[in-house]
């Protein structure tokens, strides 16, 4: 066995390794880029879910935007007040605590209530279905229920139950990614503790809505007339609640003939969501 050969090989490779290492060191000094070190600290403070709710590709992109002042320190809705405080500390500004929000699908038209115009059997995707004459439900603003929002949610908070998407408020972080993904734009962010919301976004006239869905807003304005604080208004043939005025008294719930105003109450710290059972057309 030729030991010199082995030593030579080892020597050459050690030399090659050292040369490559030295080159890398020189290159890293030569090509060093000045980087705002706040970016890394902000990225650490962010939740790191890369949900895209802020409209950027991920948490790292948001961190860069916050550091350069292109985004406010409260831009991350998922992290909420705690994250905003931390980032404000890094950036040396004061943060106003953002309100905790949650996503809510504004449609009550489940399989048994919403009427259909045809039987859809295409791709399992809402955007594909919308291209087929706006989906199979007659209502142009009804939930298609094929789960484009489900696929978008990074927190696994949405599921489709009975052809209507339902957000699990326990898992929802209020990032708003689903509100952008929904081709019908019927998912809205509402304050986490909202007592009531109108589970319909149909902008059709009452007579038309009656033909399309048993649980659609017919713009009768009963809720608007009876609301003591003027929080609920019917605009463009659909009722909606102004959460800066709503006191959560629940009078609108009892007045709605279509039973589409939902309620959420706190019981033992948990939200319990309820809705009055829809009445039949005849009653």
């Amino acid at each position: 066995m030729d030991y010199i050969e082995i030593l030579k090989t080892a020597g050459v490779f050690a030399g090659l390794g050292i040369a490559a290492g030295l080159l890398l060191v020189i290159a890293s000094k030569l090509f060093a880029v000045k980087r705002d070190e706040r970016i890394d600290r902000i990225a650490e403070a962010l939740p790191g879910a890369n949900c895209g709710g802020c409209g950027r590709s991920g948490c790292a992109a948001l961190a860069a935007d916050i550091a350069s002042g292109k985004a406010p320190v409260t831009a991350c809705t998922v992290g909420g007040a705690a994250t905003a405080q931390k980032i404000a500390g890094i950036m040396g500004v004061r943060a106003e605590a953002p309100m905790r929000m949650r996503a809510q699908v504004m449609c009550s038209g489940t399989e048994e209530y919403a009427k259909k115009k045809y039987a859809y059997s295409g791709a399992r995707d809402c955007i594909a279905a919308v291209r087929m004459g706006g989906g199979d439900k007659l209502c142009p603003n009804g939930c298609i229920g094929l789960g484009t929002c489900v696929a978008t949610c990074r927190f696994g908070a949405i599921s489709v139950i009975n052809r209507v998407a339902v957000v699990d408020y326990k898992k929802c972080e209020g990032c708003g990614a689903c509100t952008k993904a929904c081709p019908k734009q019927i998912i809205k962010l509402i304050p986490y503790d909202s007592a009531h919301w109108v589970g319909c976004m149909s902008v059709e006239k009452g007579a038309v809505v009656r033909k399309q869905c048993d649980v659609g807003c017919i713009s009768c304005k009963k809720c608007e007339k009876n609301c003591p604080s003027g929080a609920i208004r019917v605009v463009n043939f659909v009722a909606s609640i102004d959460y800066t005025k709503c006191t959560g008294c629940g009078i609108c719930v009892d007045n709605c003939p279509r039973r589409i105003i939902w309620s959420a109450t706190r019981q033992n710290g948990e939200l319990v969501i309820t809705r009055l059972a829809p009445e039949n057309e005849e009653n």
Partner: protein
């Protein structure tokens, strides 16, 4: 230097072969990992393909020089695989730093893919084939570039197929990877159609 002398026509045919008949993914089965891993979105696939092409071209040149000017004089040809891994890995690191400093636009496009291919077998494979076949310097660089183009072609086509499959409603057992692998197999069969052509 015992390299094969190739005319311009031979070099062009070599490149065409590297893209179609000898496609790295479909006939040599190099680089299957990024082919399956980074092909879920067409734009990602384009980025990955560009990064691979870039690194293959540069590493084709550098490893050729390292082999004929360092390993051959020292009589260490048999250790080229080890040496090439070392050279390609450090090369990619240096390229990454260089791009970040001088071409930030290219860095943001390729940046996240470059570290992924530091020790990719497709890149190493292209460098080793150059030596094995005894190509000269220019054909080596051309071969690396064409092999990268072939990789890009394959991964972009596959990403397009996968984008279509995303909205399909397959039986439960086929969801995810099984369907992806079946699609990859079909695509490989389609590419095998090129193998009947001789240039």
């Amino acid at each position: 230097m015992n390299t094969v002398q190739l005319s311009l026509t031979d070099t062009l045919l070599l490149m065409l072969g590297a893209v179609l008949t000898e496609n790295f993914i479909f006939s040599k089965f190099y680089g299957c990992c990024p082919f399956l891993g980074v092909s879920d979105k067409p734009d990602k696939a384009v980025g990955m393909g560009m990064a691979v092409t870039f690194v293959m071209t540069v590493s084709g040149a550098v490893t050729w020089a390292a082999y004929y000017f360092v390993l051959v004089p020292l009589g260490l040809e048999y250790l080229r695989t080890v040496a090439f891994i070392l050279i390609i890995a450090s090369l990619v690191q240096i390229i990454e730093m260089f791009l970040r400093k001088f071409v930030p636009a290219l860095y943001s496009a390729l940046g996240i893919y470059l570290p992924l291919i530091t020790t990719n077998c497709a890149v190493l494979g292209a460098a080793l084939v150059n030596i094995q076949e005894g190509y000269g310097f220019i054909p080596s660089v051309c071969y690396g570039f064409a092999a990268g183009l072939g990789f890009t072609l394959a991964i972009v086509i596959f990403a397009g197929v996968r984008a279509k499959m995303e909205f399909a409603d397959p039986p439960r057992a086929f969801r995810g990877f099984p369907l992806t692998l079946i699609a990859a197999g079909l695509l490989a069969m389609i590419f095998s159609g090129f193998s009947g052509i001789s240039f």
